[in-house]
Symmetry: C2
């Protein structure tokens, strides 16, 4: 194996595929980047066995300054090859197997000889897809992820809740994320009719957003148990969560007895101020709301208490006192992207439903805490 490549192209390719590599690799070879040199291209693969990323650098593109001298394949520790590529003293890097798995990486006056791993020890990862691709707009996808993914569970006891459920029916896409104490629901109008019901792991979604951010759109291909995100010469392939996703629509109360409109920023600041007042590691905020104002308080036997009076824009219904997690409320308010927040109540023990004024595409739901 021997090839020459543009330093910046190689660095960029490494920075993409290493996003899949875990610092605690499940098997030793997965701590490395698999480099495969074929007659017309170089393929780089990084994987943690759940997410795999393939980046192809083609001979045909002169920007890559690629020169294929000998085909072959090797696995190089991701940290070492990234360090070397970043700090190399030349525009063009030469990479060559010189003996077994010993790889020489050279620039102008600098030369490294690094112990690699056999590519035969690397798991067989297929990037082949079966079904037809669906076009996805990157900024739409990014918004969906940002507004829902934080509500996923991080507990492995219910695998389905560790991802965001994407359900497409006709021209409607509904995305749900919940940890069973809060729920984020995002509705998107589709340009073409689609039909699928899949749950994509939170970690995969974050990787896709960070890798695809620079593009305008990508292809999403849904195969049995697998999903691929493809843009130009980058492919992200990930497992889907195959547990049944719960029916979350029934969590949202059908009607509300109280509706509050309030300045989002002011409520966020007030919650932020109380965030250090924790009992058992949790900050709980209590809201007492009537037609005139919102009283926000927080209490901890050990630390002390806080109390703040907030002006409101409007309130309808009987006065209500309700408590919930300050963090959940703050997370929800941050995502609505609206200067006025609408909080809907149906009793002290019923979920609070939050959306931005005039925007029903995103609903945030938070379970109350008995106080």
């Amino acid at each position: 194996m021997e090839f020459k490549i543009s330093k910046s192209v190689f660095n960029n390719a490494l920075s993409i595929v290493t996003k899949a590599i875990s610092s605690v690799a499940p098997i030793p070879s997965l701590s490395g980047v698999k480099i495969t040199v074929k007659k017309d291209r170089v393929d780089l693969i990084g994987s943690d066995s759940d997410i795999s990323i393939l980046k192809t650098v083609r001979l045909a593109d002169p920007e890559n300054k690629l020169e294929i001298i000998e085909e072959g394949s090797v696995v190089l520790d991701a940290r070492y090859i990234s360090e070397i590529a970043r700090k190399m003293d030349s525009e063009i890097i030469t990479i060559e197997i010189i003996d077994g798995t010993l790889v020489k990486i050279s620039g102008l006056n600098v030369e490294f000889k690094i112990n690699g791993m056999r590519s035969s020890d690397y798991p067989e990862i297929s990037f082949e897809t079966v079904n037809k691709p669906n076009k996805m707009n990157v900024s739409t996808f990014e918004k969906i992820v940002r507004q829902t993914v934080f509500a996923c569970s991080d507990k492995e006891s219910r695998p389905a809740l560790m991802g965001v459920n994407f359900k497409a029916e006709g021209l409607k896409l509904v995305c749900n994320a919940t940890n069973s104490f809060r729920l984020a629901t995002k509705k998107v109008d589709l340009e073409n009719e689609l039909d699928f019901n899949i749950t994509i792991p939170a970690k995969t979604l974050n990787s896709v957003v960070s890798i695809m951010a620079e593009n305008r759109e990508f292809d999403m291909i849904i195969d049995p148990n697998k999903i691929s995100f493809v843009c130009d010469d980058t492919t992200i392939r990930a497992r889907l969560i195959d547990d049944l996703y719960p029916d979350v629509s029934r969590l949202i109360p059908a009607s509300f007895s109280q509706v509050l409109e309030i300045n989002t920023r002011e409520l966020l600041d007030a919650i932020e101020r109380t965030s250090f007042i924790k009992s058992d590691g949790k900050n709980v905020v209590k809201m007492s709301i009537d037609a005139d104002r919102l009283d926000l308080s927080s209490n901890s036997l050990e630390i002390g208490s806080s109390h703040e009076t907030l002006e409101i824009i409007s309130f309808s219904g009987n006065p209500i006192t309700i408590s919930c997690s300050g963090k959940y409320l703050s997370d929800a308010l941050k995502t609505i992207g609206n200067s006025i927040a609408v909080l809907n109540f149906s009793g002290e023990l019923k979920p609070i439903v939050i959306y931005g004024k005039g925007d029903d595409s995103l609903t945030q739901l938070i379970s109350p805490i008995r106080s």
Copy 2:
């Protein structure tokens, strides 16, 4: 105890005194800031028992917007009071003991009640000084610290080496820091004759630099076993290290058999490139130098090897091959602040002495490693 104070003044005072507070306080009360309200001022103290910082906010200065309503004293958890002061919703903060050690901190619409600690549980810390002050220029002091403190030891087995030794004789100040494998020596010309020989803990020096950075000069008062740094209404009081400081001057070879001049940046970049090639967690660089060039190499059985050829400016003496810690060499080169580094050798097993070309005020010495 009750007083009103400008939010920004209070925040600034807290940010100074909390620099002394350790996240693992030796006794519970030292996790707090001691606030003492007297008829003409408020004193804030933070301490970890080794370093103590006093900041006084005076009634006389209208900028402080101080209003003393009732004298008294309390200790408030540093994290909580800092959070509150930072996020308070008003220009003026009111702080008041309302019951025992329960303290009310209020702004415009916001009110906190925080459990404090009795000031009688806080250790008695004296900021009184005995001897006469020595004026110190902040930028000179900063430079001394930056160029020496990194060479201190972090091992408690030899306490003297955990600080920088300051020895003033007449118009000369010599500052030494060593961990016994490297030595940094900085010489400074004094404006007034001084006479002392003290060792200041590395941690204290870093605190003094970060707190005094905005000023032009401060007073340094050396008392038995203690040192004070005073500027305006801020006093830093710290223990001196009372162990005898070793005579390090004899470590520096009297004459050199080889002298190398090289571009500092190029040598630094080359060392930086090899830094990941470690054996037993250490990066060792081997330099082979002759009249034409410097060959820099690094080797690790596990990871692999590196090799780089560097141009030199000049070299006198017989060719030499010598190995040393890449980190120590890089640390030393970074401090010399000179585009040309002069490396002096007196044999493969003798220390390397480094200084910036034409600048003998700073000497960096590194022990070689047998290779």
